[in-house]
């Protein structure tokens, strides 16, 4: 048995076209689909290059504070209260808060802030595409904001934002950050005024701003999706590739030679199943490993995740092994390779239904249900659910489906395999 399996590996290793199809092609497709169709995948994210933005500060905070102090005195407020308001104003200086937003650690990897002395130099830098856009903090910006807060005047404070192009990703991000800042600042100051500054505004906003998690689902990146999609699809094509070799063995009378040696037909059939299983397992392990190394697909996943991935990969490999043995049986029994060829050409249909190219639930939920009854579809959904944080027990029903398919394939393969001679 080991000798037969070893021979299958040896002959496969000498076939450049098969190796290309089973190992190289999935990588190429993962790269192409991952980059090209990344935005179509739920929760997908493309990597963003770091970009530069500019800040032009035209205001003088000391002057603004003096002007505010003068205004407060003119309001005939008690001296203590005026001093308190002045101290509070310094704490909620909008220009300082804006700077804090841009210097936040989470934005550090995305954007780098450059200071400019005036609008002209910022414009020049943007023209040279050194920066994606810039924000101008105009003269008396903080003063105007304070007046609208403390003296309840209509705000004359305006932040000016200039971006290279609104459609660019960097432009969208910059607009989003500034909008978030304005919203957050308005919320904080409103709460502070309503509670006379007693509320812990920062904590409150965090609570308000938190996105509630309604399920355990984590987003799947395009590379994760296509690593699984291409992996299960190309693994499925392993079965007809190996079964074709079995038929060639019969055509070239090699199978007859093996049978003459006293090798039991079922030993031969089992060797095909073991070869199919091992080839698929190795193929998927290589694919996952290299995809993680090159595209960072499963980077940072814990040991338990890999164990569960191992279970699914093992079962799927066994399924491909059993399909290999079934196709081998059919081709040897029917004395032609038509079934194997048909299955081979049907792999892409299975791949589509199973969601290898795109999530089919986008088209119809019924299609998704059908897809989950295909060998690759059931396995792919299991992988994706596992990656979204589901427990293995939760994907067990789909895995039981795979076990059912394995049993059916093996039983049919054994029943139809030529028992003693070649008829």
């Amino acid at each position: 048995m080991f000798n037969l399996v070893k021979k299958d590996f040896l002959t496969l290793s000498k076939s450049k076209s098969d190796l290309l199809e089973l190992l190289f092609m999935p990588f190429i497709l993962i790269a192409i689909l991952g980059f090209a169709l990344g935005n179509l995948i739920m929760g997908g994210s493309n990597s963003i290059d770091t970009f530069h933005i500019g800040i032009v500060n035209e205001q003088n905070i000391e002057e603004d504070l003096i002007r505010l102090e003068t205004d407060l005195m003119e309001q005939s407020l008690p001296e203590e209260m005026a001093a308190e308001l002045l101290a509070g104003a310094q704490q909620i200086d909008p220009s300082a808060v804006l700077r804090e937003v841009f210097e936040d650690e989470s934005l550090e990897e995305i954007m780098i802030v450059n200071e400019f002395a005036d609008t002209e130099s910022a414009q020049e830098a943007m023209k040279e595409e050194e920066i994606a856009g810039f924000i101008t903090i105009p003269e008396a910006f903080s003063y105007n904001v304070w007046r609208s807060i403390y003296l309840e005047e209509d705000s004359a404070a305006t932040l000016e934002m200039t971006v290279l192009t609104n459609e660019s990703l960097s432009g969208v991000i910059l607009t989003s950050v500034v909008t978030t800042f304005v919203d957050q600042y308005n919320l904080e100051t409103s709460i502070a005024l309503a509670t006379d500054g007693r509320a812990e505004t920062e904590a409150n906003t965090e609570e308000h701003g938190e996105i509630m998690s309604l399920s355990v689902e984590e987003p799947i990146s395009a590379f994760q999706y296509y690593t699984i999609g291409m992996g299960v699809m190309f693994a499925l094509s392993t079965a007809p590739a190996l079964a074709s070799r079995a038929f060639k063995e019969k055509e070239q009378h090699v199978f007859g030679r093996i049978m003459l040696s006293g090798t039991k037909p079922l030993t031969y059939l089992s060797s095909k199943m073991i070869s199919g299983t091992l080839v698929t397992f190795i193929q998927l392990v290589i694919l996952f490993l290299f995809s993680t190394l090159i595209f960072g697909t499963f980077k940072g996943r814990d040991f338990d995740f890999w164990i569960d991935m191992g279970y699914i990969t093992g079962l799927y490999s066994l399924l491909i092994g059993s399909i290999t043995s079934l196709l081998t049986s059919i081709s040897l029994h029917s004395n032609n390779n038509n079934t194997v060829n048909f299955f081979g050409s049907f792999v892409s249909v299975f791949a589509f239904l199973g969601g290898s190219f795109t999530p089919v639930e986008q088209f119809s939920e019924a299609l998704k249900q059908v897809g989950n009854w295909t060998p690759n579809g059931a396995t792919m959904t299991s992988y994706l659910q596992l990656m979204q944080g589901f427990e293995f027990q939760e994907v067990l029903p789909l895995m039981l489906r795979v076990v059912g398919m394995i049993i059916i394939c093996i039983v049919v393969a054994v029943i139809i395999f030529p028992k003693r001679r070649l008829d």
């Binding site: 021979k7 090699v254 040696s261 070649l422 008829d423």
Partner: protein
Amino acid sequence: MIEVKNLGKNFKKKIAVDDVSMYLDEGESVGLLGPNGAGKSTTISMISTLLPPTKGTVKYNGKNVLKEPEELRPILGVVPQEIALYEELSAYENMSFFGKVYGISGKKLEDKIQETLDLVGLKERQKDAVETYSGGMKRRINIAVALMHDPEILIMDEPTVGIDPQSRNYILEMVRKLNRERGLTVLYTSHYMEEVEKLCDRVYIMDHGQIIASGTKEELKSILSNEETIQIQVEETKSEFRDLLSSQEGVNQVLEDEAGYNLIVSKGEQLLGEIFDHAKQANIKIIGIHVKTPTLEDVFLHLTGRKLRD
């Protein structure tokens, strides 16, 4: 040793082999001679238990091997007409694989591989992929694989088809050596009369799925003991000349080929003068004439009216 009785095989409505009976004694070399499509390969596939017959029995030392193939298979070495090898693998890898399939391992396997490679003259090329070999070398390694487990009976199906004369002679010498020196029983099928004549003690002649004659070479040739063959080489064949030869008294059969005519005539007939007269009458230029004793080819011609390679 092996006894075949009333063996028959039908493929749907077509009768491929019909009522074939034959036997093989230990140590002898037996030829199965017949043209392409005569049913030779189907017959040996049934004898080697790879194809179930429609009717008949194959017995090895009295046991029906169709029911108990495991009795015969271990002592059988089969060389199929096709190159039954993994051509992408080297000769060494093929021999190692088939040796292990027969349960040979370790030093015994290594020794057997080298000994067999030596026998077929491919020791130097053992690490090269079979697909890089010439046709003759592929045929030799095809035989070598069948010898890996030291079989007692070697069944060879047209082992020299499509190869150069040098490789062909090498294979014929090798088979003769295996039979004479190692006592290997050989069943050799071919449509090359001269191969069977050179190698085999006894011959079965097959045509249209049936054995039409059998015996030692001498016994078969004695069918034509009262006849001899006159080969006439001509510049150009003409139907008029053929008709004149056919109507000539003493000429039993006329066969035309690309080189000229073969006449089977009654022994002792003096017909050369008449042949030249007919040639002159038909305006034919004779470039050669040869009177020879009968060959197996002539026997086949006599029995079927066709040449072996028709």
